[in-house]
Subunit: 328 residues, 2 copies
């Protein structure tokens, strides 16, 4: 395969979209933005040895996860996916077959999140490097930022936390999960499902005051949401995934602390008007098959605390740091 033939093979994997007028192959891709919506854009790079290892992930998994990390940021704005661009850095010996395997996972996740892969770049790099940018669209009135949380709001997530971290530890051999949990944890780590449907549903509710995705660990991400909103919070309960519970127990760690520091769970974190919480959660369950899991309450005073044995204790950010694990 010549380079131009490889690009043609990639283009045939990237299913088109009526919105994309010119896809892979020109200087830039062209699309027609919706006239009535706002556009959103996010970018995230995954670096081999920092964000993933090919030792325990297939290239299809790596491609899926790189796309999922970006799509999750689009979901967190309440937006739907439109298109993606992919800049790939390929190490020595990484041939066309490997590129296409990576693209199979990437385009599978792109289809699942309604993003057309519209353009990209191929270059050499010392390690496998995947920088993806996703564009989405959202109605102006549905847009959800991090900065809208108000004192009294209920804080909640769209699913239990810590499964991806448990999957990573299991893959590395740091814990040994029992069979059904091992499978679930591996799937959570290798094939995370961005909460697109949940994001758009929650975005349509005026009772949702703030939303973000929970990719760096709840303690870090919640701290960011609170700082952006100029408020504090009390954590009352941490919804711990069963995989995370078993992993924490094997490590002799507190399961709640393990899940708080999790990272890469890609659940959505929302601040919701308290009176609307129960009804919204029930409607979300009916719409998307998952209820909201309550985490705590927004408070006027800055700072993040957690109720332990009836007493509030300060919580420190403990999730992934961008400079160590790089998720955004």
């Amino acid at each position: 395969l010549s380079e131009d033939e490889l690009v043609a093979a990639i283009a045939s994997l990237a299913s088109g979209s009526p919105r994309v007028l010119v896809g892979i192959g020109d200087d830039a891709a062209v699309w027609q933005p919706s006239r009535s919506n706002r556009s959103v854009i996010t970018t995230d790079a995954l670096i081999e040895g920092v964000h993933f290892s090919r030792t325990w992930m297939s290239l299809e998994d790596v491609g899926w996860r790189a796309m999922a990390a970006n799509a999750s940021d689009i979901a967190a704005m309440g937006a739907r996916g439109v298109l993606a661009t992919v800049a790939l850095g390929l190490p020595e010996g990484f041939g066309p077959d490997a590129v296409l395997e990576l693209y199979r996972g990437l385009t599978a996740c792109a289809r699942a999140t309604s993003c057309a892969v519209a353009g990209g770049d191929l270059t050499r790099a010392p390690v496998l490097t995947i920088a993806i940018t996703v564009v989405g669209e959202v109605r102006a009135t549905h847009l959800k930022l991090r900065s809208g949380a108000r004192p009294g709001d209920a804080l909640a997530v769209t699913g239990p936390l810590g499964a991806s971290r448990a999957g990573l530890l299991h893959a590395r051999g740091d814990v040994r999960l029992s069979v059904p949990l091992a499978r679930a944890a591996t799937a959570a780590h290798c094939r995370p499902a961005p909460r697109m449907r949940e994001g758009r549903f929650l975005a349509a509710s005026r009772s949702v005051h703030a939303m973000m995705d929970c990719s760096d660990g709840l303690s870090t991400d919640l701290s960011r949401l609170l700082a952006a909103s100029g408020v504090g919070a009390r954590i009352e309960a941490v919804p711990v995934d069963p995989c995370a519970r078993e992993a924490a127990e094997q490590l002799g760690e507190d399961p709640a602390a393990f899940a708080l520091a999790g990272g890469e769970d890609y659940e959505l974190l929302v601040a919701v008007a308290p009176r609307a919480f129960g009804h919204l959660s029930a409607r979300l369950r009916a719409h998307a098959g998952r209820a909201l899991l309550r985490v705590g309450t927004v408070q006027a005073d800055a700072g993040l605390s957690m109720v332990k044995d009836g007493r509030p204790e300060p919580v420190f950010r403990s999730g992934w740091d961008h400079f160590s694990l790089g998720a955004n």
Copy 2:
């Protein structure tokens, strides 16, 4: 500086734009696309040791050049810049001051090309890695693709070729240019000026049938334009930059061949209706200070040849290959 403080410092360097409603700091950036235009998007990654060396480029230069490479693709569509996102991979020991120096060059080029830096990602990487995505806008009737060249069209570029390659060879010590040429070649390599003004002007002309940027070397880029248009061409003259001429002479190479293989010149390559060529070139000179330099003629038969001593000889693609130098 904590990581969040570094992001705040980056955000203050990235001048805002009234079009960008939410910039750096949320899950995604938000903008209002123009209702009457089409949007274009391009992505390009620059990898240390592949595309640049910090030995002979300042970090400000590296940042400028990374942004320029992307903006040039936007110019090649006939579009204007709107916004950019930047994913940075930082090697060990690359501190906040270095990040901000890189961003100073990057945002200077962004301002010069009317792109607001609206979002990004910071992570660790084995070498300095800069993946930029730029969004632009263009009227539907002004959009210029690679595929519109017709037999008989005049082929032309917006400036002489080979200066950037001469600057690279000079920086590496492979040639030793005389003083005024050395300065010009270094500037061409380190601070290339994307032809935004020229691109928009040429895009407004119905006589321009195809356009692309000339970043991989004229022989490679012209081959791509011809393939996309289903035509061939005869090269009649290669406009060689004086820096390239001196470098080629020192290396004992044919100056035209040196410039043909150039790469990273970031001039625009156009196919123009032959009857309109002289008038369009004069108007471009009046508008942007540079005339079109004629390169050759589009022919119905496939293949690329060059007239040498009155006889056509076949030309083979000799520019940067994405897998060796990665420009797009």
